[in-house]
């Protein structure tokens, strides 16, 4: 039973990580590429780490909850690194694809 739970969590996590990377390759411009890794990969990692938590809690003596730390850390830092990257992309005036709406909302920074 527990083996089933771990397997399902692992497969969900692996697919989300894979989807994030597919988004990284497939999307046409930088701003759209950013969506895959910042969101899908975070949830995928949380799911994988939950699976690891259940696995180590059942196979080894005692409860193992320290995997939550990595999930928490990734959840806290993913928006910040995403923000830094999109800020540097705007600073470098990267092109977004033609059909992007509201491009004039971007103001020039000094």
């Amino acid at each position: 039973m527990i083996e089933w739970i771990i397997s399902i969590l692992l497969l969900i996590g692996g697919s989300f990580v894979l989807v994030g990377s597919i988004g990284l390759v497939k999307m046409p411009d930088f701003f759209m590429r950013l969506h895959g890794p910042t969101k899908a990969t975070t949830l995928g990692m949380a799911s994988l780490l939950t699976a690891a938590m259940v696995f180590f809690s059942t196979t080894q003596a005692g409860l193992s909850v320290k995997e939550i730390l990595i999930s928490l850390f990734l959840l806290l830092t993913a928006p910040i690194s995403g923000y830094m990257m999109i800020k540097s992309a705007i600073h470098h005036k990267l092109d977004s694809i033609e059909r992007t709406k509201g491009k004039d909302n971007i103001e020039d920074d000094c």
């Binding site: 989807v19 597919i22 759209m32 800020k87």
Partner: protein
């Protein structure tokens, strides 16, 4: 908005609690020795580093903060599934866009929390905060602050702005009372 903590020996209650939990998680035990050590660290470290920190608003309604956290976690899961479907679907049909969201918040800490939540939830990444200034608390006359976000699939701009303001900004205003 309240900047000063209720007790001078506990300048940042939430960060102390976080420090306590992280220490116990890192050691993976709840034995008495580790709990005592965690309490000592959670009280001493904020006291030692408090002269280096700028004063930040404190959470006034912890219950509401907890409820908001659970709501955001639920939204992260649903939004991730939506984004995964959007990524796997045909790329040509996506209409990305930049949207400017006017904010009612003025202090930088709630704005940071709002920007992070927006980054983690429905198909949006927060990109920039206008007007750009080093410290938003200083100005005597607070300007209208805008949050520039990039949306993966923009269908209804007004509805999106309304969702962000009602679902994520209004609870933050309540939590920090500003």
């Amino acid at each position: 908005m309240r900047l000063e903590a209720r007790f001078t020996w506990l300048p940042t209650p939430v960060l102390s609690l976080l420090l306590f939990i992280v220490w116990l998680l890192l050691n993976n035990s709840v034995s008495a020795g580790h709990i005592v050590l965690a309490v000592i660290l959670a009280i001493v470290i904020p006291l030692v580093v408090s002269p280096f920190r700028t004063k930040q608003p404190l959470i006034i309604k912890p219950g509401l903060a907890l409820r908001h956290l659970l709501l955001v976690l639920y939204d992260i899961v649903t939004a991730n599934v939506q984004v995964a479907i959007l990524i796997l679907g045909p790329t040509r049909k996506l209409t990305p866009g930049f949207v400017k969201v006017p904010l009612d918040l003025t202090h930088s800490t709630p704005i940071t929390i709002l920007a992070s939540t927006v980054s983690l939830t429905p198909g949006t990444v927060s990109a920039e905060i206008y007007p750009w200034s080093e410290n938003l608390i200083e100005g005597a006359e607070p300007e209208q602050v805008y949050l520039l976000i990039h949306v993966l699939n923009l269908t209804d701009e007004q509805a999106l702005i309304k969702t962000i303001k009602q679902r994520y900004e209004a609870p933050l205003k309540e939590i920090f009372k500003c």
